[in-house]
């Protein structure tokens, strides 16, 4: 098939080479286009199908991805088959977007370039949703994602005796992967309760295979003697004063305080979408109750509110890896159709149906593993929420009390929360929860931090993408 003439001017660009980006690129190539694919990582695969650097001895897909091995292989193979037919930019961070061009920092050569696009598919994925607990800044504490990356990417465990804490499907999965890899999993501490999971079972049976995997991980862990505790409230990570690292964890089990020794902690509360690029592109955001987050709006096909910009995968709302593949392909078909190409409408409709069906399953997941809504109520004043700027929960509450801050950007301006290197990507969720609680508003009311370039810090001497003779100032 050949692309219709309206595509000739500029290639479409796909940001993100996770499951969503790979399937999007594949669909574009299948219709005769040669997209640019930009990804910050050195190899395609995204978060879940992250590939170790080729310098590390290849471990088998089975070892790396377990049940997901087949899918991982499929995504990798699909991508490898595309290599000659796309313009692939690995190790490339999109740090700014403006006027139909993306500013891209290429890590290895330490250079930036400006990449124009006709249409754009944003498939930027997700990172961990962090609700901190006292002691979380001790060496030896990792996010669940970080713990998993260490295992998959570097082939090493975060500790010998590890506690996993938080909630969400990833909690059990990572615990399982650690146990399988030979680490001692001291316990899995889940803030959600068994009752939540039972109540959610009917909804989750909409995806029986996925549900079965979850059940399997839990059963496997139990069979291998890993202690699983539900309905807990994490109290703190205990530190070893002499070595200044993790020595254990303390939690409340509903009746009493309990502690357990360990040398590393992986924690997290499912995922949060990476939305800054969509924000810089001017996409309209709305609060999505299911995700408890403000997300860029999109139609069923993945069209954002901005013409020519499409959204796919976890970056537009956490839906998981399979959905990311479908959404990536669907968004590419929308892009093609909008440009006048003939697409397989039945396929597009089928993808939409699958995505829609998954919605019910996602609701079940949120029901089974709710974010602990009382987290803010229990966060002690001395808890560090923003580690870049060292801002505590107490400081945030004081800012509310003294200055009447009732909105995220005002809270940031007055307290510095989210003003550091991470720009609120890590602390934003927790700060919003504290603000909502302190002002007695629902969390959607407190708004969201506005995105600002650069998406991640960039060396000043590389910010000079387009030297300009303009000066003269205020």
């Amino acid at each position: 098939m050949t692309a219709p003439s309206s595509f000739s001017a500029l290639q479409p660009v796909v940001v993100g080479a996770g499951p969503a980006g790979v399937r999007a690129a594949q669909a574009l190539v299948a219709h005769g286009l040669r997209p640019v694919v930009i990804d910050e990582a050195s190899r395609a695969g995204g978060q879940i199908y992250r590939r170790p650097p080729s310098s590390l001895a290849e471990r088998s897909a089975n070892v790396l991805y377990g049940f997901e091995a087949r899918r991982a292989d499929a995504v990798h193979t699909a991508f490898d088959a595309l290599r000659e037919r796309i313009d692939y930019r690995a190790d490339s961070l999109v740090w700014n977007a403006q006027g139909g061009r993306l500013d891209v920092l290429h890590g290895p050569t330490r250079s930036t370039s400006s990449v124009p696009y006709g249409q754009l598919i944003v498939a930027t994925g997700a990172t961990d949703r962090v609700l901190p607990v006292p002691g979380w800044t001790l060496p030896g504490v990792y996010t669940l994602g970080g713990a998993q990356v260490a295992l998959k990417f570097q082939g090493c465990a975060i500790g010998q005796r590890v506690v996993f804490m938080g909630t969400g499907p990833l909690l059990y999965l990572v615990a399982y992967q650690y146990a399988k890899a030979g680490a001692k999993v001291a316990a899995v501490l889940d803030t959600s309760r068994l009752a939540d999971q039972l109540a959610a079972t009917p909804a989750m049976l909409r995806q029986p295979a996925v549900f079965a995997k979850g059940v399997y991980y839990v059963a496997w862990l139990r069979a291998h003697g890993v202690a699983l505790h539900g309905g807990v409230r994490p109290l703190r990570v205990l530190g070893d004063a002499t070595e200044n690292r993790v020595a254990g964890v303390a939690w409340h089990d509903g009746q009493e305080e309990r502690t357990l020794a360990c040398d590393a902690v992986g924690f997290g509360y499912a995922l949060r979408s990476e939305t800054q690029l969509a924000d810089l592109l001017g996409c309209r955001f709305e609060f999505a109750p299911l995700h408890r987050a403000h997300l860029p709006v999109r139609d069923a096909a993945g069209r954002s509110s901005v013409r020519g910009v499409y959204l796919a995968g976890d970056g537009a709302g956490i839906m998981g890896a399979d959905a990311a593949e479908w959404a990536g392909e669907r968004a590419a078909l929308a892009l093609l159709a909008d440009g006048g190409a003939a697409i397989d409408a039945a396929r597009a409709a089928m993808l939409e149906r699958k995505l829609h069906k998954l919605g019910a399953f996602r609701q079940g997941l949120e029901r089974a593993f709710p974010v602990p809504h009382d987290w803010a109520a229990h966060a002690p004043d001395e808890l560090v929420v923003c580690r870049c700027e060292n801002i505590t929960a107490g400081t945030l509450r004081q800012t509310v009390a003294e200055n009447g801050a009732d909105e995220m950007n005002r809270l940031k301006a007055l307290s510095r929360v989210g003003m550091g290197r991470c720009q609120g990507r890590m602390c934003g969720v927790a700060a919003a929860e504290i603000l909502a609680h302190a002002t007695g508003q629902p969390v959607q009311q407190v708004g969201r931090l506005r995105g600002q370039a650069p998406i991640k810090p960039i060396p000043i001497h590389l910010a000079n993408t387009a030297p300009s003779t303009e000066g003269a100032g205020a």
């Binding site: 700014n96 403006q98 006027g99 061009r101 500013d103 400006s114 001017g282 700027e389 200055n403 009447g404 909105e407 950007n409 005002r410 301006a413 007055l414 003003m419 550091g420 290197r421 720009q423 600002q452 370039a453 650069p454 810090p457 960039i458 060396p459 000043i460 001497h461 590389l462 910010a463 000079n464 993408t465 387009a466 030297p467 300009s468 303009e470 000066g471 003269a472 100032g473 205020a474």
Partner: protein, 381 residues
């Protein structure tokens, strides 16, 4: 039909930037009733996102009386608004990159001699000794030891809070959609929520003040501009002074945490009527100039860039003073990129105008009449 609230007061103010908020505070201290309407949050626009330069040096001589008055207010900031807002008299150093620049700085010192700015010219060996971190293009400069810097994010909202504590009624998230005069009083409407009646009105709406002036037959060539700002990650502390450059282009300062805040002209981009962000070319130009000015920045990172929306008039002077058409209306807008330092004094001047009909600080240069030269001679009806 709706539950619209009606308030009657002495003075209504549109805009809760540093100008409107300090006017509200000054009026309350005179015992005058004030209602201030702010479309968003007080100090969330220009006044809260600017570079934070608190400098008199380099201002046109016509602004120096106002700047001196503001200097005294800044000196008492904590007593005035209840916080120091990270205000520091750290010194403002204006750099010369050529002998011609140096001569120009010398001329400025002579022109401003009446104002006691205490300018000290530094060059050659003394320059290298006092600031080894300066790039080689700098040949000298002029230091105003009592100028400095502050944190606009903290200072500007604090003016509004102080005004509120002093009894001003402040309505945030209340956009003024309509202003009119019914022959007795100004009437301001904010949606279906609020109507304010007052015999005096202060137009302190910043870059958005144009339509209000136009409503009263005073269309002025006000334009929006968006200076580019950027901040680095925290770096080891090395620089007290806030730096500027003769001829403009870039300015930068280091805050106590170690971050460098940089700003420059160049055009930001307007996202919509309200918001703006740094333009790619402006960031590029900032990065080049920043490294030239401070070579140590070469390996530092920008962690954030931003911009704001500021009102500019062609002669880069504000409009500050009474309306030429409507008694009781006073304007204070169009500070053209330099209203943070003089904002608190502009607020006091507006309050004096309301109370006394005149200001104790000369403001003739800022009269709105300057945009209507051919009409100034016609006699009033």
């Amino acid at each position: 039909m709706s539950g619209r609230k009606t308030l009657r007061t002495d003075v209504a103010i549109v805009g809760g930037g540093i100008v409107g908020a300090s006017a509200a505070l000054a009026l309350r201290r005179m015992g005058i009733g004030v209602v201030l309407l702010e479309r968003d949050l007080c100090g969330s626009r220009s006044s809260g996102v600017n570079y934070g330069g608190v400098r008199r040096q380099g201002r046109p001589v016509s602004q120096l009386p106002l700047a001196q008055r503001a200097h005294r207010i800044w000196g008492n900031l904590r007593e005035t608004i209840g916080t120091d807002g990270e205000y520091l008299r750290s010194g403002h150093f204006k750099i010369a990159r050529s002998e011609a620049d140096m001569a120009s700085l010398e001329r400025y010192r002579a022109q401003s001699r009446d104002f006691d700015l205490g300018l000290e010219l530094i060059s050659d060996a003394r320059l290298r000794e006092r600031c080894p971190w300066l790039g080689t293009r700098a040949v000298g400069g002029s230091l105003c030891a009592e100028d400095g810097q502050a944190n606009p994010r903290l200072v500007s909202p604090a003016f509004a809070l102080a005004a509120q504590r002093a009894g001003a009624q402040i309505f945030e998230r209340h956009k003024v959609d309509e202003v009119a005069h019914d022959g007795q009083a100004f009437i301001l409407r904010s949606g279906n929520a609020l109507e304010v009646h007052a015999p005096a009105l202060l137009n302190c709406a910043g870059a958005w003040a144009g339509p209000i002036a136009t409503e009263f037959g005073e269309e002025v060539p006000l334009q929006s501009g968006h200076p580019a700002m950027a901040v680095t990650e925290p770096l080891p502390f090395f620089m007290n002074w806030s730096l500027g450059v003769e001829g403009g282009g870039i300015y930068c300062r280091q805050v106590a945490r170690g971050n460098l805040v940089l700003g420059g002209g160049g055009k930001g981009i307007a996202l919509d009527a309200d918001r703006a962000r740094s333009d790619r070319d402006a960031i590029a130009s900032l990065s080049v100039q920043a490294i030239e000015l401070l070579p140590a920045l070469r390996h530092a990172h920008f962690i954030r860039t931003w911009s704001g929306t500021e009102g500019y008039l062609p002669d880069r002077q504000p409009v500050l003073g009474p309306s030429r058409t409507t008694p009781g209306l006073f304007h204070g807008f169009g500070f053209s990129g330099a209203g943070f330092q003089i904002g608190p004094a502009a607020g006091e001047v507006l309050a004096e105008l309301v109370r006394d009909g005149r200001s104790s600080t000369p403001i003739d240069a800022f009269s709105i009449e300057r945009f209507f030269p051919e009409e100034t001679t016609t006699s009033p009806p």
